[in-house]
Symmetry: C2
Subunit: 383 residues, 2 copies
């Protein structure tokens, strides 16, 4: 296999953006990524446009975005893996480059979620579950993840305080990220006292619906070396699926089997183990998700995720720093943009451009989970 | 580049299917494709699930389909390029195989459109245009293509009778295809007298909303040669985009610039010219589209598409047989399935399994157009 690098990154602030359309927020992040790479729009040979459907009336948004960004007549691809859309998009871009079809590809992740009312968003999100057998019975996204939290607490003794500590850590780092939606530290007490959403999850256990975009520019080895002195290589890729319906997941509500499988593939392809990962971004749509991810990715023993965060092992001075850009909980989660935003953070880390949250290291991992935990994309980067 | 072959094909009859869910119609075509390839479900390493959104409440359908087809934990990809979804899906599958990520990939195209009322379908379809600047003004899919028809008639003198002859030809061949929705020959008079839809297009100038699925199984060279003695090779691929909004298309309403560009790419990659194509499937969502496609693909001179069909050049005994399985006009157009159905027909042609519509030849071309003509995927197959 040939080498593929990320050579440019860009991101809007994740926030409420009533002032801008989807094409405009995509443009903001795209422009920043082009400037970061130091290339011109005309050098982009294809675009992979990543977003989750039904938040917007616009169907097949790659069409309007390719036009607005001046990318016609180049090929453009729509990718939708719900919350994992741009994690999957990177894999698609990697394959398109590696197969020789394209030399430089832009992965454009975006979402506008705040135009819908909160209950409309919940309805749309619920339909990323099985609409024939499950979502008509009422489960919303928080309810699905509350089920996982209850199962984990029941099986392993994980506590609400441990869940809260994920939110505390991620808000601690969010303050240091100017592109994060929330810019305020919170304490365990704040989480525990926040409004109940779906027991045991409270408001601060849940990420926020947001607007935003993130863009990555990928290139083959020859072009990457011409474009930049600091290419960040895509060293490992993993992608897997889990059953959509909970009834088919058997006893695995305390683990995402797709995460375990995707991580295995990515570690193998990159030739590394969990111990080699210097910094990670994992999908913390809810606090429980980050705890399960620690275990699924092999950062700690099965069932020990709660204790792992409690011990501070995922802070910068711990065993493995996780979500030191604030994660979804503090940054916000415009779903189509999240996977690309994770990789942007890691590219900056590996380039040594992460400022006050800089971690020393050469190997980074991004974990991007889709929907109710039925898709997982894991990407490993090396300097 | 390594070689990739289509080694198995399957398709449901395109029809109204109130009896079956999307997962069930996908299964029907998948089962037939597995049997055609003579492989087991467990050999499929990844699935590319192609459909257009918003016809169904189910978001991100790859999840439910992968589960129902027993494809967990393998990776699954959602691809949406509206009417060109499975044409683009084949390109994605080709790249995933060629890059070495997967050895055998199923491309699963499906759509269920008949559960929505006709006006609901028109509203959904309209939103594959630009929802900020165009579709709120009312253009439906027939209105967009009627605009192209009027422009073509004005510029080149194309006549309503010539448009009608496309429908007559495709219904003539549809009768010979047991999987086609319409099984009745029609005459020019029938087309001209049919109900006005959007002047100059009448009912028989328009394809029908349908339910159905089509599946292709692709494999790398090593696996393909083990699976079958009659692999059909993907020799050329082209993909391009046009501006989404008509105002940005300037004077090109009589041509799809994305078709011209995609065809150029595919001919170059396959090392062939239009004269080398022995049989073609082109996207005849409306009669005018087939006429424009003849010109965009280089089958005839610019502006001569109407005359080309009038002369019978696209019948089996003409210069280049086009849509001899009935095309979208007679087969029906369950949008996500159409690109895969076109390639299924061509695989059967190149294998010599096309029965009474068999064309003699070794090189075949599929042209799959998305939305209002803003994406085009061209695929060239060789025996």
């Amino acid at each position: 296999m040939n080498k593929v690098a990320i050579v440019g990154v860009g991101q809007t602030k994740f926030d409420r953006r009533p002032d801008a359309s989807i094409r405009e927020i995509a443009f903001e992040a795209f422009k920043e990524a082009l400037e970061d790479a130091g290339i011109m729009r005309g050098e982009i040979e294809a675009s992979v446009v990543c977003s989750a459907t039904h938040y917007d009336k616009q169907r097949t948004p790659a069409g309007v975005i390719a036009e607005y960004l001046g990318l016609n007549p180049q090929p453009t691809y729509n990718v939708d893996a719900v919350c994992a859309s741009s994690g999957v998009g990177v894999r698609n871009a990697w394959a398109l480059i590696n197969s020789g079809l394209h030399g430089i590809v832009a992965v454009i992740g975006f979402q506008k979620m705040t135009e819908l009312k909160s209950d409309e968003v919940q309805e749309v999100m619920g339909r990323s579950g099985d609409v024939m057998w499950e979502s008509p019975l009422g489960p919303t996204m928080p309810a699905y993840f509350a089920t996982y939290a209850n199962a984990h607490m029941h099986r392993y003794g994980t506590t609400e305080e441990q869940l809260a500590k994920v939110a505390v850590k991620n808000h601690f780092y969010g303050v240091k990220n100017p592109k994060a939606m929330f810019q305020k530290e919170i304490a365990v007490e704040d989480v525990l006292k926040s409004r109940p959403i779906a027991t045991p999850l409270k408001q601060h256990d849940c990420c926020a619906n947001s607007d935003g975009a993130a863009v990555l520019i990928l290139a083959n080895e020859e072009k990457a070396r011409k474009i930049t002195d600091t290419p960040v290589w895509v060293a490992g890729l993993g992608l897997a699926s889990s059953p959509m319906s909970l009834t088919s997941r058997g006893t695995s509500l305390t683990s995402f089997t797709c995460s375990v499988e995707a991580a295995k593939q990515a570690y193998q392809m990159a030739g590394v183990t969990p111990e080699d990962i210097d910094v990670a971004e994992v999908h913390d749509c809810f606090t429980i998700t980050e705890i399960i991810n620690y275990e699924d990715l092999g950062f700690c023993e099965r069932g020990m995720g709660g204790k792992f965060v409690e011990e501070g092992q995922t802070y910068i001075d711990g065993k493995i720093p996780v979500n030191v850009d604030g994660g979804l909980l503090a940054k916000g989660h415009p779903v189509g943009a999240t996977g690309a935003s994770q990789l942007r953070t890691l590219v900056q880390q590996l380039r040594g451009e992460a400022g006050q949250t800089q971690v020393k290291g050469e190997v980074a991992l991004a974990h991007n989970l889709g929907g109710i935990g039925m898709y997982c994309a894991v990407t490993i980067l090396k300097r």
